[in-house]
């Protein structure tokens, strides 16, 4: 018998607020990761040279590709780390169950993925300013948020959904490791096996290459994230019963 009954929504919301505060350090590590990626991007992602009317032209492309690789790895470990013992112990502060714990973790991952996606997109603008200031080279006006808002929003959405999918993968990985430590090597096996096997290549091509538009790719990422989260919830529910 309790004086007040909390609904699932209230419990989850309280946990989300607490976890967002508790995991603030991970967002600082995101900044470090982004700065590291930016420093490695400063010389350009790709370049093209051509000769035209006795003049050699070299065009250097700078994209957020390197930063997104770093942030994706960060997301993978973020999803994984919040299932580890140290982070799991924070749940003892609350009256909670498996569902509310999983839901709050998922919401925290979504919030962090949105933050990571938007800041990764915007971090590219630091290079847009730093490169022309510190290099004595020409600088081509390129589409910005104001010039091309639709493409900017699409790119931002893509980054958010990609980070969310990877963090969901990390969360599933972490949950599996909690069930049995042998799963720790699952990711390394997957990294090696996916590009090396025909089936793996087919899966990768289906997800990343065969897309009519970026919207389709976005939808695929979100669907994969949902699948990973549902699998993680199913696995952890089984775990609660077992232990």
């Amino acid at each position: 018998m309790f004086l007040c009954n909390s609904t699932l929504g209230e419990v989850v919301w309280t946990q989300v607020k607490f976890k967002m505060n508790a995991y603030l350090g991970t967002l600082v590590s995101l900044i470090v990761v982004q700065i590291l990626g930016l420093m490695l991007s400063i010389n350009g992602t790709s370049s093209m040279s051509t000769n035209f009317n006795n003049t050699d032209f070299q065009f250097v492309w700078i994209t957020a590709d390197t930063v997104i690789i770093f942030v994706s790895i960060w997301a993978l470990f973020l999803g994984n780390v919040i299932t580890t013992k140290g982070y799991r112990n924070t749940n003892f502060s609350f009256v909670t169950n498996g569902i509310s714990n999983n839901l709050s973790n998922i919401i925290v991952l979504i919030i962090m993925s949105v933050f990571a996606g938007i800041t990764t997109f915007l971090s590219h603008y630091i290079l847009r300013i730093v490169v022309p200031f510190f290099n004595d080279v020409g600088y081509v006006r390129s589409g910005s948020i104001i010039d091309d808002p639709l493409s900017s929003i699409t790119s931002m959405g893509l980054m958010v959904s990609l980070i969310l999918m990877i963090s969901a993968g990390g969360y599933l990985w972490g949950t599996l490791v909690y069930i049995h430590r042998a799963y720790m090597f699952l990711l390394i096996v997957l990294i090696i096996a996916l590009p090396a096997t025909k089936t793996g290549q087919m899966i990768l091509r289906f997800i990343f290459a065969d897309n009519m538009s970026l919207f389709v790719l976005n939808v695929k990422f979100v669907c994969l994230a949902i699948i990973f989260f549902v699998l993680a919830m199913l696995c952890s529910n089984r775990l609660e019963v077992r232990r």
């Binding site: 603030l24 003049t55 050699d56 065009f59 022309p132 006006r141 893509l158 090396a196 990343f208």
Partner: protein
Amino acid sequence: MSNFGILSILPILGLLFIIWRLLRLTKSTSNRINWAQRSNKWILCIYVGVLLLAVVVYEAIQADGEKVYTQKEYATFIDENNVFQQAFEKNEESKFDPKFLIEEWKQQIEGDTLEVILNGSNVRMNIEWTNSKEQLVEAKMYKTYSYMGGINMEKEIPLPTLEVKDNQIILTAIPQKERTYYRFTNELTFFSTVNNLDSWEQRRVIGHTYIYLKVPKHINVIDKDGLQFY
């Protein structure tokens, strides 16, 4: 799996390790240091502020490319270049777009020979033979649209110098130059739905420098290198 494939995985594994350590470190630091939460909030606020400021400042930076053209505009440039090229080949001066005209000269020559000297210049030249009995030679220089990677090349590449003196037209090429440009894109190259090379080709407009001469029929035009003019 090839050796290259295995080697390319190694840096990824290295990155995985570094980022994992970083996340563990931030967790342990926030456990040990009480002021970490407040400083973390400050760091996040400052970082987000810097990012938003960067977006605003970027709009104010002077760039080389005048404006970002659409694919349709590039197609129009290419069409206009082709129309000029065809009119030039057929000696249809009335169809030349006056906006391509750069400079024109008129020169009274003595005798019946006009010598054209091309000092390394790769201009396109055409002669319209007139029925005039005078010694007046007209020369016009045209330049069609040239865009590469969003840059208007007409401004970036100086024109060959054209000098008309006595019985000579001397065209001298500009010295070899090197230019490097930085270009930014919002797109992620991995997931770009368009082939970047195709897109690059569609946005490349190759223009040329044209010299159009109007020469009376009784004057011979010769070139030191043996180029024949009819």
